[in-house]
């Protein structure tokens, strides 16, 4: 690709020399040759819609990253990154988005607001066409200590324009905060407690989430009630290629 480009530049250069030589031999005003407009890069764009399918777990504003296979937001069985810890404990996607840089990332953005149970939010991203495109979506279940739901490395390369695909995202435990379910440590509306705390007080590995106990199941100190329980997945992600 680079070779072809430089060849083009070379021939353009020769043409310019020839033109100026011609211009010098004529007495009339030099002809204006418009520079050829560079071809507009082909764009591709995706609408990423996330439905909250939980009973009573508002979801923090979604983090959406479209990337190559060289990007990974987390690794099961390993420690969470600092930015994922922030998202999973406080619900803020800002650090995950600002860390999503470099050649591997084509586009990254976050949702405008919290997604209440039963509601949906859509983030649209546009970037120069790529052969291999993967999608990662992450959000926090805010009435928990450090539960996040999401799916990473969803291959969307095969989607035709106008086509869409759907996946359900399981629920993970970031492993960075003990699941004590206390009012002081859960940031969501069920508790209003602390969000991010840099101390790592749990297993410090990412696993599937074990679920919550709640005060209705005899854990009297829990700030949660039976409505905050959840099961196998929290999100339905619908990806539509729009360009």
């Amino acid at each position: 690709m680079k070779f072809i480009t430089s060849m083009k530049c070379l021939s353009l250069g020769i043409a310019a020399v020839l033109l100026s030589a011609c211009g010098g031999s004529k007495s009339s005003a030099p002809e204006v040759v418009p520079a050829p407009a560079p071809p507009a890069p082909a764009l591709m764009s995706f609408d990423v819609s996330v439905s909250n399918v939980t009973s009573n777990q508002p979801l923090s504003p979604i983090a959406v990253v479209l990337h190559s296979d060289q990007y990974s937001a987390w690794s099961f069985g390993n420690a969470a990154s600092a930015e994922l810890e922030v998202l999973a404990e406080s619900g803020s996607p800002a650090d995950v988005i600002s860390a999503a840089t470099g050649e591997a990332v084509f586009a990254a953005s976050s949702g405008a607001d919290v997604i209440p149970p039963g509601m949906m939010d859509t983030v649209s991203l546009e970037f120069e066409e790529q052969a291999n495109v993967e999608l990662t979506v992450i959000t926090m279940l805010v009435n928990t200590n450090d539960a996040f739901s999401g799916m990473q490395n969803i291959d969307v390369s095969g989607l035709e324009v106008g086509a869409s695909m759907q996946v359900n995202a399981p629920i993970y435990d970031a492993g960075t905060e003990a699941n004590d379910e206390l009012a002081a440590t859960i940031p969501g509306p069920a508790a209003g407690g602390e969000g991010f705390n840099a101390e790592r007080m749990d297993s410090n590995v990412i696993s599937r989430h074990p679920g919550v106990v709640t005060s209705d199941d005899n854990y009297t100190e829990s700030a949660l009630n039976e409505s905050h329980r959840f099961d196998s997945h929290a999100l339905r992600i619908t990806v539509t290629r729009t360009l």
């Binding site: 099961f76 069985g77 492993g175 297993s203 990412i206 696993s207 599937r208």
Partner: protein, 231 residues
């Protein structure tokens, strides 16, 4: 592109001629705080089972589910000429970790997996006679936790209770549970193999009904991810 297709053809032909298949099986413990005891992976013929939901557990399955001892199931598998990998993790498979085994299945085209989940009374993670695809590729399965139906889930940690018929949880490898519980229940409502309802636990480490911690010793299905690669 055409060249690639042509080059791949001889391998495809070779694969379809032979029945024997080399497969690799990677098992990941997906849970947050539950260990797997020694795992048994067996490739066997159609119609054979290490366990079946809705039927009574064999003594061998009971021994595995209550105490983690797979020797009986290994003998069962050997007796039906299964190809097995016994204890690929070399002991416990900790939460959020993986292990791997390779099998030359021969004519054994069904795959079963069992391992006790710990701490539990008689819970196990299982795969029952999954038909191994003949087409080369990577296949991902998610496994649930089952209850062998052979022991009341009293949730009391008692040394020696891994023996079949002795009520109790033989060990809590994480060491993060309680003691002096009074027992969650003394009966088992379903005496056949069924989907495990989960541990109850409690937040009272020095008493209560359970010796398990309700915030730690829980799980949601699936509890294991299995990636089978057919070569």
């Amino acid at each position: 592109m055409k060249l690639k297709c042509l080059a791949a053809l001889p391998f495809a032909l070779a694969a379809s001629i032979s029945n024997a298949q080399n497969i690799s099986v990677e098992i990941t413990n997906l849970t947050h705080g539950i260990f797997f005891t020694p795992i048994l992976i067996s490739a066997h013929t159609d119609g054979m089972h290490l366990f079946e939901v809705g039927t009574s557990a064999s003594t061998e399955l009971q021994t595995m589910a209550e105490g983690g001892d797979i020797s009986g199931l290994v003998a069962t598998a050997d007796a039906i000429a299964a190809v097995s990998a016994a204890n690929p993790a070399g002991g416990l498979l900790a939460p959020s970790t993986s292990t791997m085994a390779e099998l030359d299945t021969g004519d054994n085209m069904h795959l079963s997996i069992t391992a006790m989940v710990l701490p539990s009374n008689d819970g196990f993670v299982g795969l029952d006679a999954w038909a191994i695809p003949e087409t080369a590729g990577t296949y991902t399965l998610f496994l649930n936790a089952y209850d062998a139906g052979t022991e009341a889930n009293n949730e009391l940690i008692l040394e020696g209770s891994g023996a079949p018929g002795v009520a109790g949880i033989p060990a809590n490898p994480g060491g993060n549970g309680g003691t002096a519980g009074t027992g969650v229940t003394s009966t088992e409502a379903n005496n056949t193999v069924h989907v495990h309802r989960g541990n109850l636990g409690d937040a009272d480490l020095a008493g209560g009904t359970s010796d398990l911690d309700n915030r730690i010793h829980r799980w949601l299905n699936p509890v294991a991810k299995v990636v089978v690669t057919v070569q």
